[in-house]
């Protein structure tokens, strides 16, 4: 009996093997491996060599403008069967792996923490030529009616909406992972995307963290698209972010552990497209967001320089835009694009695009002025806060995003800057006219702000206890890329530009281009006397100390918490206030007149080599508060005349499957400060000179928080280079 059962089993197993083998042969797995190698050279006179990226703000990470390094990326793709596909990447990152590390043997043992510039050698993954597993994804296309594809694993989730769930990138394109279901119905007139994304603990919650308990945190998304006809389509999107924490007071472990919410965020959106013909195209979207940070686990308020990707507390707001494109108007070759938009101050979508998109039509601001100080430093009044990118900033203009959770980390100067557009409302019109080799284009944008308010829009709170993270503050020539909020704002901005491109029929064709751009901006900031910090006449002058009689704008609240009175000092024969007392609503006024001019020429030097030369000139006349305001006491003041020139040489070279790129810049800038009067300038002593890198004996003043602002003219010189080689194989 038993032997019979064994024989029967053997027959079944043998039959199964035959069937399996034949199926396997029919659906032979096709493994494909491809790759890319990327080598980068950085060189610059800032002499930083912390890593092979020009810019980061991440604590403990290096940045630099010098170094050479290589990385390799292997793409693995296997078509297991008609229904199953597997993808993955093995990627070595250079990070701090400069060639000078000699294969990872670059640091002392034990390592010196924090590891910067590869000085931890074999002891730190960032400098021991580590290889990371990336992009592990299985795509299942089962052939069912109700589902087209299930994607399990890594993706950048670029199929959603940058206002709600945007492309997720952080150095790599596919660090995010989740489960994505996509399908269609009614002959594809309806499509759906349903996703659960594991919430990135690095940045997707208040304070750039998702707390202690992270493994079950997730973002959920649903997107429906209906194509009623080629002329009309609709799209609905919903997103819900759930950041959970284990309840610390649940001591009874026998029934498991309770959880509560640290942060939640929901967004609903509706978009439409109307395409009546090739001459006109109209589209628009409306979004409404609700978010809630639990003060048990997340900040309930921020000081005047808080950092977080989301304001604190319960928030709700809306955002919307309407686009209209008019193409080839009356056969003239002129195209007009018009956009009206509003992004509410409290609009929050934690999963909105952080960098890889541009949600507005406008060029926005120029990335050459990326931080508050004249040198592009943030918190530059304090020692050890030098500029990271230098006066050149990033190349070109910014791309706008509907979040303050903007990410420009680990980038080089030749990459675009992303800037927050939270609070922006206004309209843009961009005409383009093309005729043969000539292209003329322009832009006019009017901006006002949903963040125009006094005392952060809430008189009941102290200005230094706000729900809004102000990041790097709103001072300086440009727009500090992740700053949306200021304690007092009454701002208007006009952006206008004209561009021309032409190719002369000379040899292989000589490309020339030019651009003129202007930004006019005013911000009256604190514009009601009741918000002044002290009573009228509190600081009488003449060497008499201030009485410090506080003026409250609401019971117990006064701006004296951020605009404290100066002491009386004597410098040489002069006795007076250390800085101007904040006693007039014009003390913090901003008035910017900004002009940018660009000319360039490029030529295909050989079949494989293209070269270009470009000159960018910037001229900014800026009033940005006087010494009473002190750039919120945190940053270098920028009131005065700014001039900047960026000379760039760029080359692209392709040979036999290898691509080379090269950009060299020589940058010069001048800053003539004009901080107003009403105070006694101080003289830099040895300690100040060394701590703040200013000449001994130079004039300046020490601010409320101990920072030093120089009153001397400044001349800047920067040269920098980036070269790269990329080979696909």
């Amino acid at each position: 009996m038993q032997s019979g059962r064994i024989r029967a089993t053997a027959v079944v197993v043998a039959a199964a093997l035959v069937v399996t083998t034949s199926v396997s042969l029919a659906e032979e797995s096709k493994l494909k491996i491809a790759g890319t190698t990327y080598t980068k050279w950085l060189w610059g006179n800032m002499r930083d060599d912390g890593s092979l990226y020009n810019f980061t703000t991440v604590p403990g990470e290096g940045y630099g403008d010098n170094g050479q390094g290589s990385e390799i990326e292997l793409f693995i793709l296997a078509k297991v069967s008609r229904a199953v596909e597997v993808k993955a990447r093995l990627h070595s990152r250079f990070n701090q792996n400069q060639w000078t590390n000699f294969g990872g043997w670059g640091g002392p043992n034990p390592p010196t923490v924090p590891c910067v510039g590869g000085d931890c050698g074999e002891m730190d993954p960032r400098s021991n030529q580590y290889v990371k597993l990336r992009g592990v994804t299985v795509v299942v296309t089962p052939g069912y009616k109700w589902i087209d594809a299930a994607t399990i694993g890594a993706s950048d989730f670029g199929m959603f909406d940058p206002w709600v769930i945007g492309k997720i990138r952080y150095i790599d394109r596919d660090n995010g992972s989740g489960v994505l279901f996509q399908g269609s119905a009614w002959d594809r007139q309806l499509t759906y995307d349903v996703v659960r994304i594991s919430l990135p603990r690095l940045w997707a919650g208040p304070n750039y963290t998702t707390g202690e308990f992270t493994a079950q945190d997730a973002a959920y998304g649903v997107q429906l698209k209906q194509t009623f006809s080629p002329k009309f389509d609709l799209r609905e999107i919903f997103q819900y972010v759930n950041d959970m924490e284990v309840v610390g007071t649940d001591f009874d472990l026998d029934d498991g552990r309770e959880v509560s919410q640290r942060f939640r965020n929901s967004v609903v959106g509706l978009a439409f497209g109307f395409h009546p013909g090739s001459a006109i195209d109209v589209g628009g979207s409306y979004y409404n967001s609700v978010s809630d940070s639990n003060s048990l686990y997340a900040p309930a308020s921020f000081g005047i320089g808080g950092f977080s990707p989301v304001p604190a507390g319960k928030l709700d707001d809306e955002a919307y835009y309407l686009n209209a494109d008019f193409n080839d108007i009356a056969g003239s070759g002129v195209t007009l694009r018009v956009q009206g938009f509003h992004i509410g101050a409290q609009y929050v979508s934690m999963m909105a695009a952080r960098r890889e998109s541009d949600v507005l039509l406008t060029e926005g601001h120029d990335a050459a002025y990326m931080y508050p100080g004249p040198s592009n430093a943030a918190f530059g009044v304090f020692s050890n806060n030098p500029t990271r990118l230098g006066i050149g900033g990033w190349d070109g203009n910014a791309q706008q995003l509907a979040t303050i959770n903007v990410d420009n980390e680990f980038t080089d100067f030749d990459e675009p800057m992303a800037e927050t557009a939270i609070g922006w409302e206004g309209a843009t019109i961009t005409p383009v006219w093309t005729k043969g080799a000539l292209e003329l284009s322009g832009e006019y944008t009017y901006l006002t702000y949903d963040t125009n308010w006094q005392a952060f829009g809430d008189d009941s709170r102290a200005v230094n206890s706000t729900i809004y993270p102000t990041m790097e503050g709103d001072t300086g020539v440009g727009h500090n890329f992740r700053t949306a909020y200021a304690p007092f704002q009454d701002k208007e901005t006009d952006i206008a530009l004209a561009k021309v491109k032409y190719t002369f029929d000379v040899g292989k064709g000589l490309d020339v281009w030019g651009k003129v751009k202007t930004i006019s901006e005013t911000d009256e900031r604190l514009n009601e006397e009741r918000y002044l910090p002290y009573q009228p006449g509190d600081c009488p002058g003449g060497g008499v100390a201030c009485a410090n009689v506080v003026r409250n704008y609401s019971p117990g609240n006064s701006t004296s918490s951020i605009y404290g009175n100066p002491g009386v000092i004597t410098v040489g024969a002069n006795t007076g206030y250390q800085w101007k007392p904040f006693d007039d609503i014009s003390d913090d006024d901003r008035d910017l007149s900004y002009w940018m001019t660009q000319v360039g020429a490029g030529y295909q030097l050989t079949n494989d080599l293209y070269g270009a030369l470009e000159w960018n000139h910037f001229d900014a006349d800026l009033e940005d508060g006087n010494t009473a305001m002190q750039a919120y006491n945190l940053h270098e003041m920028a009131s005065g005349q700014h001039r900047k020139d960026i000379f760039a040489a760029k080359f692209k070279y392709n040979i036999g499957g290898a691509e080379f790129g090269f950009e060299f810049q020589y940058n010069m800038a001048e800053f003539e400060p004009d901080f107003g009067g009403g105070f006694v300038p101080q003289v830099a002593d040895v300690a100040i000179s060394q701590a703040h890198n200013v000449p001994l004996g130079s004039l300046g003043f020490t601010g409320r928080f101990g920072g030093w602002n120089s009153l001397e003219d400044r001349d800047f010189t920067q040269y920098r280079m980036k070269g790269f080689m990329k080979v696909q194989f």
């Binding site: 193409n327 003239s332 002129v334 195209t335 383009v432 006019y444 499957g657 691509e659």
Partner: protein, 272 residues
């Protein structure tokens, strides 16, 4: 200052709007909108970078001035340089096939690698202008590696530009050969620029059974289906009947293993 900026901006808009265009010898075709679905079933990749209408040809023109010919391919969406390639567009790639001699059987009847199409011998192509946003050096290398036997017939413009909705490039007229451009046959194949092409594909984006984030859908996972989103058809007048003509031209048949039983066969379009 602010008044000046506003006045200058409005004046510039008005000036642009009053501008008028005039051209010399030219051949123009139109193509109906809404036919960017290959043989009728193709769908766009799901990534938001592929905007609706991006691969929908609405017009094609050849304009001759002096010893230069400028080709223009217009699509039903504003061009965007999403991948910062520098030419004003990123996702599109167009092949302009030209039958300059009009002789049956003279020229190539095979499409370029990755398109999976044939050409009717009556309109075999003699020249192909490749409109790619990639640097010409890279495109040249791809052509030399993957289409060496057709290399002499493929024309790579020094620069290809995208502006508003039109991709354009100028080439030397002599590169196209002798003859009257108004009598030539044309076919425009709209594809997508793929920076990481598969196998021997000439920087073309694949069409699969199901669309992916960067893959067209509605076709076959093999290489029996035409990897083509839109073409000229009929008389090139933009008539809606040309949609059916396109779908017929792009009909294909596959074997069970994904190999071709019948490849799509394209015909040239002539100016009437």
């Amino acid at each position: 200052m602010r008044k000046f900026v506003r006045f200058a901006a409005l004046a510039a808009v008005a000036a642009f709007s009053l501008a008028a265009a005039a051209f010399a010898q030219e051949v123009e075709f139109k193509d109906p909108s809404g036919d960017d679905n290959g043989p009728g079933t193709y769908t766009y990749p799901t990534d938001t970078v592929y905007k609706s209408g991006s691969f929908d040809i609405t017009g094609f023109a050849v304009r001759v001035k002096g010893d230069k010919a400028t080709v223009e391919v217009t699509v039903n969406s504003n061009l965007e340089d999403a991948w910062r390639l520098g030419g004003g567009f990123s996702v599109q790639m167009a092949f302009v096939f030209i039958d300059t001699d009009g002789k049956e059987g003279s020229g190539f009847t095979k499409g370029l690698p990755g398109t999976n199409v044939l050409f009717d011998p009556k309109g075999a192509w003699d020249k192909c202008i490749l409109l790619s946003p990639q640097p010409p050096g890279r495109v040249r290398n791809e052509v030399e590696t993957k289409a060496a036997d057709m290399k002499s017939a493929i024309i790579l413009p020094t620069r290809t530009r995208g502006s508003s909705r039109t991709i354009s490039a100028s080439v030397d007229l002599k590169e196209l050969g002798s003859g009257d451009p108004q009598t030539w046959g044309y076919q425009v194949v709209m594809q997508s620029n793929e920076g990481f092409p598969s196998g021997n594909d000439l920087m073309t984006r694949k069409v699969n059974e199901y669309e992916g984030q960067h893959r067209f859908g509605g076709g076959n996972d093999g290489d029996c289906d035409p990897h083509v989103m839109d073409i000229l058809a009929g008389s090139g007048a933009g008539d809606k009947s040309e949609i059916d003509a396109q779908h017929q031209m792009l009909e294909y048949e596959c074997n069970a293993d994904g190999t071709a039983k019948k490849l799509a066969t394209l015909e040239m379009v002539h100016k009437k």
